[in-house]
Symmetry: C2
Subunit: 461 residues, 2 copies
């Protein structure tokens, strides 16, 4: 590894310059007028991968923006890593809020500022540079590597699932590694091994068949806003638990090891509450905030509406009221079952005098990569070597659909190796990549390639 690490150290300036060239291409996928830049960016990446020594590099069309694929598979018997990333970026507007132009990468202090610096060109580039360090010094990698770099992440990865399905053989691997997220905090390298799933519902209550005058009719029929409020109020008990029968049945218990690991993370409820501007936190009793965010399912109202919502005092007793309500799920809950339990319970608690309709709008499964798995253990080891510091375990409260798709279609677990920072302005002005994380990331990925075989030898990735 010495020569590989020396190569990385010797080439930092060039790495940065190359990343600057990649960041200069405004590959904004949300903007139909940028379609040529998207194509130009895919070309640039493909050329660069070829120069590094990645093989079978191709720009593969989808119904939308193309995928850039490449691999290096000359390590027979060694595990195969599928690296996922994306080369499209968010719009840079509002431009006047940027300190330096968004498509001219600029170093200030320890950070590199540009749109895409962290999300996700910079983090994808980390993997390419680690591969380069091996191929340019040793002519070979200790593992097989496949790159899947898409151009539609910022517009919902609309065509990726189909692409993965159609190219399942080509994408076969032992482990997916994604660097498209953040470490827990600056100076706190961490590995994210779990994501929550989602079951997103919409309910509507219809009371009287028309909007009524609240004076002439108030007191005679059930107001659908009142009915809806009373139903929503019934969905949590006084301990902050969701009251839907069976809701917690399939929740995988936090292991003692996980609870201990979360306790090690630098965290302050007080600081968190202050940052959000709330006087008190809220949630399921018996769990810490991080446990609630990562390892416990929740139910949230995402929207509510009904009756008169303009200025002033219209005296209406409305005909209908609606709410969007979603559940965040954890292993081993399933989205379809959560939706079913919700529907059954909501039907049960709907009062007489209103008609209920329920729609399931969206679903996604939770995902977890066991922390005892070879992939996670190797990533932990690599992070410690790359950053000179024991990394911490974390999960994430949201969902990353592609992780679930990889699991579902390719049957592979994902390790989320985030090198961003929580405050890196991923979708806002002055997005940046912290340079110690960029170079520490390249070293980490190089170590991951190096140590992965010895971990997989003892078990599945």
């Amino acid at each position: 590894m010495k020569s590989v690490l020396s190569y990385i150290d010797a080439n930092t300036d060039r790495y940065l310059k190359e990343l600057g060239a990649l960041l200069a291409i405004p590959s904004v996928s949300t903007d139909a007028e940028r379609v040529q830049d998207i194509g130009r960016c895919a070309e640039w990446l493909a050329d660069h991968m070829r120069w590094i020594g990645v093989q079978n590099v191709q720009i593969m069309p989808t119904q939308g923006h193309p995928v850039v694929y490449g691999d290096w598979l000359a390590a027979p018997g060694a595990p195969t890593v599928l690296v996922y990333g994306h080369y499209d970026v968010q719009p840079a507007e509002p431009l006047d809020k940027w300190t330096s132009p968004p498509f001219e990468a600029t170093v200030r202090e320890d950070n590199l500022y540009a749109r895409g610096a962290s999300d996700d060109k910079g983090q994808t580039f980390i993997h390419l540079k680690a591969v380069e360090a091996f191929l340019k010094t040793k002519g070979a990698l200790p593992v097989n590597v496949k790159f899947l770099i898409e151009g539609e992440e910022e517009i919902g990865s609309e065509h990726l699932e189909e692409f993965v399905r159609e190219h399942a053989d080509m994408l076969k691997a032992d482990l997916v590694v994604i660097s498209d997220s953040s470490m827990f905090a600056k100076g706190v390298p961490s590995i994210c091994y779990g994501l929550r799933g989602l079951a997103y519902m919409q309910i509507e209550l219809v009371g009287p068949n028309r909007d009524l005058h609240s004076g002439s009719y108030g007191g005679s029929v059930l107001n659908p806003i009142q009915a809806l409020s009373e139903m929503i109020a019934k969905l949590h008990d006084t301990k902050g638990r969701v009251t839907i029968p069976g809701f917690y049945d399939d929740v995988r218990k936090l292991s003692a090891k996980e609870r201990a690991a979360y306790k090690k993370l630098p965290w302050s409820d007080r600081k968190y509450a202050r940052d959000l501007g709330v006087g008190a936190l809220y949630g399921e009793q018996g769990f810490t905030t991080l446990e609630r965010l990562w390892a416990r399912p929740t139910l949230e109202c995402n929207g509510i509406w009904g009756g008169f919502t303009g200025e002033g005092a219209k005296t209406v007793l409305p005909s209908r009221a609606s709410a969007k309500i979603s559940m965040r799920l954890v292993p081993d809950q399933s989205s379809a079952k959560a939706a079913r339990l919700f529907e059954r319970h909501i039907k049960k608690i709907a009062p007489k005098g209103v008609q209920l309709s329920i729609r399931s709008l969206h679903g996604g499964e939770p995902a977890i990569t066991p922390i005892e798995s070879a992939g996670v253990r190797a990533a932990i080891e690599a992070l410690e070597r790359g950053f000179g510091k024991k990394p911490l375990y974390q999960r994430e409260g949201g969902s990353i659909p592609i992780v679930v798709q990889f699991k579902k279609i390719l049957k592979i677990d994902t390790v989320l190796l985030g090198f961003g920072l929580p405050d890196e302005n991923a979708h806002g002005p002055d997005e940046f990549l912290h340079l110690p994380n960029f170079f520490g990331g390249i070293r980490t990925v190089a170590h991951l390639f190096d140590v992965l075989p010895q971990f997989t030898r003892s078990g599945k990735a």
Copy 2:
């Protein structure tokens, strides 16, 4: 009375023709381009009143449309009746929904169709024709009469309160009579002696200081939609009663006589529920539907909003949620006190983790004219003579601000002598006045003038 009633019977055709001329003037107060028609209508009315023999007729300016005033005060010692009405009308649009042109009064079967036929030109005209019948046959009235006919009722009577204040002496009377509402049902003459008041509030809850991702943050902070729902759910108990402490303290109990009177009204909960399309009615236990609508206070949510309300599944944990909540009040509740009790209770039940703000948007007092009062007793007697049928007592669940203003400023009770029908399309296409009610109304008002002195002799109007 014989000659008066014969005069009415002999002149029905002319009465109808004259009303047709009044209805032909499109005095739409909501339409700025109709301001000349408004003026023309006031002139027509004033001229007609002069022809009838009403004295001191004048078109009195306000900041908005003018008031038409006239009186006949040559019955010293007799009570004075203030007749309130309005000569402005709602817009007639959509015109293509009218069977006959809205400003060409047309008789079909027993009804006269035109904009304003019932609301309120036709009902105001009833009083003028009763006065005419006396003056043209006897040259005198048994009571003193004052007419206050405004031109801004359909736009909220914006300048009327000021007008009443400024002309309190001129408007002094013993009883106000208003015919601008409906009888209970076709063939069921009734007298409305009570109206509910209003206290209209708006509350807002702010949780986190920004909209959050419901995946990344769900489970850690109180969702303001959930908080709002839980608060609204606490405002009614399982018996449909409002839980605000002190809310019912000032509610005047229904007398046995009133309860008995309501029971006489033709009413079917089943038909009412079917008409509204609800499977069950709802309200405070221990009271009939009519009692709840007329004589019990209620609390209704008029609007609610928060979070994402568009199409689809946006995973937001919103920063804020709001609701409009109004209370309908009955004697002897006061709007200010209800607002105060609401505010105190809402503050008490607001949970930690959200910031609450409360606004009072609108208030109005309840009104009641005791059914034992001379005015109500005289009106009951007059209705029985006018329609040949014992009339019934009713109240109305809504508010009529002018009734409260007459009480507050002039200290006079109002008798609501509605000659419309509940289905007369007051603000819609094909508005009509039921002709038996028009002629029965003229006879009733004539009888009211006739009998009122003997009732007031025994007590205050």
